[in-house]
Assembly symmetry: C2
Homo-oligomer: 422 residues x 2
């Protein structure tokens, strides 16, 4: 029998009435002949309640205990959905991460799935049971302790289970009906995509689209799990297909740009007049990496001015270094770099948190030149100042003032022909 | 190092502030030099919330899923208390039942602890950690599924852990400051007992005192675990000792009667004019046992009347059978016996739920005759009608109308000299 994984997020299981609606979706697929594994999140609000208690308990909290507390939310919904399915006459049982087992690294709070043994789930399917699996959680094999996968981790649980049991596809049910060309709240003309490639989805997730956890797309891509993003609020009797995330070859009509993503979760740091000598980049970025501070965009401009305004043949050239970090790491990064001023030898440090990173993603960029250049021109025409640029094979990103977010997203969305035809 | 188990119930861990108070009690014992295992219940109200969701999900619910859902409450408090202890500088870690492991039978919802392997807890103590154990829950070894021990099961977890790790004593912290001669809400003159024997406590718990789960007292008695019942609301810097439950030999000044218990959780059933022939008791009580309906008091009175009013030498004597069942089982028992009327051959069935069982307990009864007889006289003088009587070596019980509960309890409490001296 073909197998299917269905994943439901917190808003989809917020109360028993909604869990009944989830069960109706599951019943449809069981009646269609699938062996079904359902992956569930905690009831919406519950994880925040649990995290709140953890923070109230301890300022610098032990992530192992954080995981023990927070994993309880998914435990509750897995049991409740199994009960509702049984009440409908559908054999079902709940599975905690440690029962499957879903084995992970010991990076508590953001653990990586290392393996899922399908043997017990296979036996459960052979018994005719729907497997209701608590998402977001696993166990570290060596210590036997509970782990969690980080926010959005249930997506990753679902895709990893789909890979482990050889599911025909993985349906991620959520509160939106698919993946859009950009956030429809910012651009009302945003269109739902029928298909998007793994590579593009990975970039979108990395660059600010919150539809899926990045790690879930990585696993889907690695194991070629056909993944649908679709709405849990559709009529269970007549659901829409949502957006398919699949291999590039499956997508016939390829656009140059598929989507526009943006992230307000950025901060910019500039070091002025750094002595432009070998090893200076290592002196800046080495200590940041040691503190687990990820640096994203980096631009270096030779400022042409001399250190301390010296002149003459012996003068040393200086450079301005601009880069971005996650907003959450901004204060720590500024403090660290201020402390390191003597070692790095810069003249001044400047920071800004009122910035946004806007990205255009599309596998078509591989075969089309000048895609980014058109954007720079269009933004310049609207008076949007670009603070930094990065490009890669299938995307480019610009860092601009936060105030221009909506204007810039709309401009690029129209520029690349993504607007919905009215 | 000497070891100690401390157990805290739901009201003692109802919020983070109270959990801090619990941690202060734990710190006192750690500073006194004990290796401490703490057993915690779910935050008060949480178990009811979880049970409510289960009941909303499914009318006749799968007890295995009930256990998966309900066990999550203790998981949360175990992690939170570990965090609060760490914040105080006391090394601590949480243990779920399946992590210890606490292995139980598969009687989901009221599982019995079968074994607790102390090896991992011993290693944790050797690391200098306080072990914070989620009470009420365990795992069935063969299926690997979560189990729960029934209401009050955390008491049992605590005593069983104490036996497994060889603890010097087990302190049950609760919202009362000890075991009383009877419920102080009914008899304001009730006195706190300094000591009570295992046997007496077992009877009290079985007969309606809600201070401890019956099973916890059985385990304490079997393994001779010195168990204190004491208040979690005492000042952690200056706590009172509470009531010690211990072996009879430790109790120097033995009363004839130690306490008066009562249970409103009873129902009475009478079968009139049952044919008094061999096998009739089996015909009545066999089917009830098959349905897991426990029968408590049984009295049989030969009514002397003949079946169907027949006369003559061939007449068969009849008997009236009166017995009690738990109020929760009353409807089921009445339905079952009504269905079995032809097989049992009785003339009429009568039932009453407005009854109460009042019991007097004391190991001193073994060596004193006429203890119960004094009670029957005293109750008769107050006009209290006794519907049924049972006695055993160290207790007797009477079944009376519920309206007379307070009067009867006060009467017996005074009769046996239990009133507090003003």
């Amino acid at each position: 029998m073909a197998r299917l994984v269905m994943k439901f997020g917190g808003t989809s299981v917020a109360n028993i009435e909604r869990i009944r609606n989830v069960a109706a979706h599951v019943r449809r697929e069981v009646e269609a002949g699938y062996q079904v594994a359902v992956v569930v999140s905690a009831m919406s609000g519950k994880t925040n309640e649990l995290v709140g208690w953890v923070q109230e308990s301890s300022k610098i909290y032990d992530p192992r205990e954080y995981d023990a507390v927070v994993a309880s939310g998914e435990q509750v919904t897995s049991g409740l959905l199994a009960l509702v399915l049984q009440e409908m006459g559908i054999p079902a049982r709940s599975w905690q991460g440690w029962q499957v087992p879903v084995l992970t690294s010991d990076a508590h709070g953001s653990a990586r799935i290392e393996s899922i043994d399908p043997a017990r789930l296979n036996a459960s399917f052979a018994n005719g049971e729907v497997a209701v699996i608590a998402g977001f959680q696993g166990m570290h094999a060596q210590t036997g302790r509970l782990t969690t996968l980080g926010r959005g981790g249930s997506d990753t649980s679902a895709v990893a289970v789909a890979a482990a049991i050889g599911a025909e596809r993985c349906d991620i049910y959520t509160d939106v009906d698919g993946v859009y060309t950009t956030d429809p709240r910012v651009v009302p003309k945003a269109r739902k995509l029928d298909k998007v490639s793994f590579e593009e989805m990975l970039e979108m997730a990395s660059l600010g689209s919150k539809v899926l956890q990045v790690r879930s797309v990585e696993i889907a891509m690695l194991h070629k799990v056909r993944t649908f993003v679709r709405s849990s609020f559709d009529d269970p009797a007549d659901p829409r297909p949502g957006t398919l995330i699949c291999e590039e070859e499956e997508i016939v009509e390829q656009q140059v740009v598929t989507g526009i993503a943006f992230s307000k979760d950025e901060a910019q740091i500039t070091l002025r007049r750094v002595a432009d000598k070998p090893g200076v980049a290592a002196a800046i970025f080495g200590p940041l990496a040691d503190q687990n501070i990820n640096v994203d965009m980096i631009i270096q401009v030779v400022s042409g001015q001399t250190v301390s305004g010296q002149t003459g043949n012996g003068e040393a050239m200086t450079t301005d270094m601009t880069f971005t970090v996650q907003a959450a790491d901004y204060e720590r990064a500024m403090a660290l770099l201020t402390k390191l001023k003597p070692e790095i030898a810069y003249q001044a440090i400047e920071g800004a948190t009122d910035v946004v990173k806007i990205s255009a993603i599309g596998v078509g960029m591989r075969s089309h030149a000048g895609v980014a250049a058109r954007a720079f021109r269009a933004l310049a025409e609207k008076g949007v100042n670009i603070r930094a640029i990065t490009t890669s094979e299938i995307k480019f990103s610009v860092l601009i003032d936060k105030d221009y977010t909506e204007l810039a997203v709309r401009t690029l969305h129209s520029l690349y022909g993504l607007d919905k035809v009215a």
